[in-house]
């Protein structure tokens, strides 16, 4: 397999354009974390971490396990990307609001976020396997934390400095293409044959008991 490229954060438009669907990369630099609560509050309540989103422009979808050492320093115990598709209701608005070029998570996102990424020149990176232990070692420093008291350790926003963080793969490129949607179409096309092998009659439907 070809050597895995490391891309510096924040990504430039050129970086984003050079990334191919399915390509594996690592990233180095600053990122911020968040999950459902950040998405909902940023859009519904206009409450979000007061950071410079031009500099800290990579949104890592994660609820890490964090431990506070005796000297007060925070350490990452494990960080496993969480399922981004859950955030699709607010995903596009968040990408536009902060002009995010890099999203990192698990699974994928939907067509609305794909459109927003296309507009701002952004990509979506999805995780490879379960790798929370390797990823935690690639977090070199925990710079800051926002809304810890309000949201707790899992939903609050952490600012990480990461080095050769990953690998992740490009699951959505800046042209609106989605690795998983292509795969889903392939799986769907196999269903008639699979159903036939299982002895399910063609055109089979469940008994309908409700008014149409």
């Amino acid at each position: 397999m070809a050597e895995i490229r490391d891309i510096k954060l924040p990504m430039t438009e050129e970086d984003v354009k050079s990334l191919k669907l399915g390509e594996m990369i690592t990233v180095s630099g600053l990122l911020f974390t968040g999950r459902s609560r950040l998405h909902i509050r940023a859009i519904e309540d206009n409450i979000y971490p007061p950071i410079d989103y031009e500099k800290i422009n990579c949104f890592f979808h994660v609820g890490p396990v964090m431990r506070q050492e005796e000297d007060g320093e925070w350490k990452v115990v494990s960080c496993e990307p969480t399922s981004s598709i859950r955030f699709e209701r607010y995903g596009a608005d968040v990408v536009r609001k902060f002009k995010l070029r890099t999203l990192i998570g698990k699974t994928t996102m939907g067509p609305a976020t794909a459109q927003a990424l296309k507009e701002v020149g952004g990509i979506y990176l999805s995780k490879i396997g379960l790798s929370g232990n390797a990823l935690k070692d690639q977090v070199k420093k925990v710079h800051d934390v926002y809304f810890l008291d309000e949201l707790g350790k899992t939903e609050c926003t952490w600012i990480y400095e990461v080095d050769h963080f990953g690998p992740f793969f490009v699951a959505m490129d800046s042209e609106g293409n989605n690795y998983f949607e292509d795969l889903a179409k392939e799986a769907e096309s196999k269903m008639p044959e699979i159903e036939k092998d299982l002895g399910i009659p063609a055109g089979y439907d469940y008994t309908e008991v409700n008014a149409k």
């Binding site: 115990v77 960080c79 399922s83 699974t107 999805s126 929370g132 998983f180 795969l183 392939e186 299982l198």
Partner: protein, 300 residues
């Protein structure tokens, strides 16, 4: 008489070991899956996940950061006696869960469903979940701790009340569509273990699906030949979807399809599906009547 502190210790260690170790049967199954996959991405997903499990085992890290829903499945015997009676099992589970959370073996993940408030210790109404069955004839207490990740529970839970006329075709259509949807984009972290409940009441049906996914060793088939036949047919069908590890191009969307059945209403055909993720976390603490604890990841 088994002492209260022994029960808490056993529960704490079982959930801690569950969160930090991959069960041996799951590891073997993932290694076999790795031999079968050819797509570079599918291979990488499995290699990385197995390395991750090695790292957590060596460094006391976590097999997955989403330690999810804390659950304890307990077996007791006809002669089992607990200090304080069986009513203490709930508070023992709460104490063990809170301790494992404070020590960062569990992530504080359980929140109130309406206020979304997080108490920070994974303890609240209904959680940790405990279930006790009295199916032994000795004086032992066996505790299986299963921290179940959100991905598999959130994206891998399906239920449909069908009717006798919907037949076996309906069951198969429902299950294979559930597998396809659950594994899309790696939502349930495939290769998944798919539990299928058929029959019973709605809650029993789902409970059977969950236990079939969580509590059966990989490779063990149902003793009912009809259920075992369905398991085999659905497993083989899942391998033709073209979906592999973490939703990549591949063969192993699932490691096993485990069916369980219960008698049901003559008018009904309830079917439930519950998925377990590829790390299949569970660990067992066996306490004998003298309070000796033995821990194992091997299921019988």
């Amino acid at each position: 008489m088994i002492r209260r502190e022994t029960i808490v210790e056993a529960m704490y260690n079982a959930i801690r070991l569950g969160a930090t170790k991959m069960p041996p049967d799951i590891r073997r199954a993932l290694q076999n899956a790795l031999k079968e996959e050819t797509d570079p991405m599918a291979v990488k997903h499995l290699e990385v996940s197995l390395q991750n499990a090695d790292m957590s085992e060596k460094g006391n890290g976590l097999v997955c950061a989403d330690t999810g829903f804390p659950m304890y499945f307990i077996h007791a015997g006809a002669k089992t006696q607990l200090e304080g009676g069986f009513g203490i099992l709930k508070e023992c589970a709460e104490e063990a869960t809170a301790r494992a959370t404070a020590e960062c073996f569990l992530r504080p993940t359980m929140v109130h469903p309406l206020t979304r408030k997080n108490p920070g210790n994974n303890v609240g109404p209904g959680m940790p979940k405990i279930e006790v069955v009295f199916d032994r004839d000795d004086d032992s207490l066996e505790i299986l701790a299963a921290p179940k990740g959100g991905g598999s529970e959130i994206f891998g839970t399906f239920y449909r009340m069908m009717f006798p006329a919907d037949g076996e075709a309906g069951i198969k259509k429902f299950v294979i569509e559930c597998i396809k949807d659950a594994c899309y984009a790696g939502k349930v972290c495939p290769p998944a273990i798919i539990g299928v409940g058929i029959g019973g009441t709605a809650d029993l049906c789902m409970s059977m699906a969950k236990k079939a996914a969580l509590l059966r060793p990989i490779g063990k088939k149902h003793t009912d030949p009809e259920a075992a036949r369905l398991e085999k047919e659905l497993y083989e069908a899942s391998r033709k979807l073209g979906i592999g590890p973490m939703g990549s191009r591949g063969i192993n969307a699932v490691l096993a399809v485990n069916v369980d059945v219960a008698v049901t209403h003559t008018a009904a055909l309830p079917v439930a599906v519950n998925a377990q993720c590829m790390v299949g976390r569970r660990w067992i603490a066996k306490i004998d009547g003298n309070g000796n604890i033995d821990y194992t990841g091997e299921m019988e």
